[in-house]
Symmetry: C2
Subunit: 165 residues, 2 copies
Amino acid sequence: MASRSTAKKEALKTLLVLERFLPYRLNVLASLTSNALAQIYAERFGLSIPAWRVIATLGQYDVRTARDIATHGVMHKSTVSRAVSSLEQRGLIVRRPNEDDRREELLALTPEGSAIYESLAPQALAFEEHLVSVLKPQEQELLVSLIDKLSRHARSLTREGEGEA
Amino acid sequence: MASRSTAKKEALKTLLVLERFLPYRLNVLASLTSNALAQIYAERFGLSIPAWRVIATLGQYDVRTARDIATHGVMHKSTVSRAVSSLEQRGLIVRRPNEDDRREELLALTPEGSAIYESLAPQALAFEEHLVSVLKPQEQELLVSLIDKLSRHARSLTREGEGEA
DNA sequence: ACTTATTGGTTGCATGAGCAACGGTTTCTG
DNA sequence: CAGAAACCGTTGCTCATGCAACCAATAAGT
């Protein structure tokens, strides 16, 4: 399992160790947590990640437009659009045209949607707590502050602050 | 922009603040860094994330099977399979059947693949360095150790250690 | 040795997401 | 006030990806 240091030709030297590469580590960790979390909202409620983010945002803010949700959840507007359609079909949210600006639609959770939110949010928080329970409270704070600092910086490296899921 | 605390019915209370939710934060940060990094290997070399991981792994280990790469890069085997096909077509890697076990194929970079690796890896490292330059060296170490601790723990919460990109 | 289970890798299928173009509205500008 | 520009949201297209079924090869069990 070790490295064959001398191949036929000059062995190319190891420039980068993937497991130590920060973007890789971040992706792995994000994937792990996303997947674990998805087991909650996908298996139990049939929600996709975007759908879950829509619900979480509406649970947090009561009423928002699709665009607000996209910005807030760092999702593409088409992603949000489809998630919203699907949630509406399932009767979890309602859309109401904004009479002041008829381009946009105000979205809100239905009672059924709220019920899901109220059931899901505590489970999500419990998961989070369980996840970070390996860290000391002090470490938890530190982690969050480091992540935020990095995120702010990373945002400035990309052209914009848009993105995907 | 604040919360309308008293809606028609009982306003549902905010249970979860998305921006403070760790899995969300991790996803945002991972997306930001992935996208920024992808600008390097996608725009300049036309590589996808899986392709880049294959190259990085082969650059690191010289010779591996597809399965090794999948495990190592936390990718699905079908993802790796397709990435490998595409890289082979482009002449960046070669496959050689393992005579000892003819189910598997040994993969290695071609000179062209190595050239890309040798050009790309330093750029990736430079990007990483630039990214973490907002953190003090001490903070960088801390971040990595926290991430690793969390990753190990998260892995134990999922059924397996497989995943996606 | 023969059957059965396991493993490495590929591929068809369905889903999901980004992109870009579009329709309908509002705002900005002259 | 008319035309251009910006903006919200939708949709067709394409591509990436996870899943599951599958083929070929090896290992395990009897």
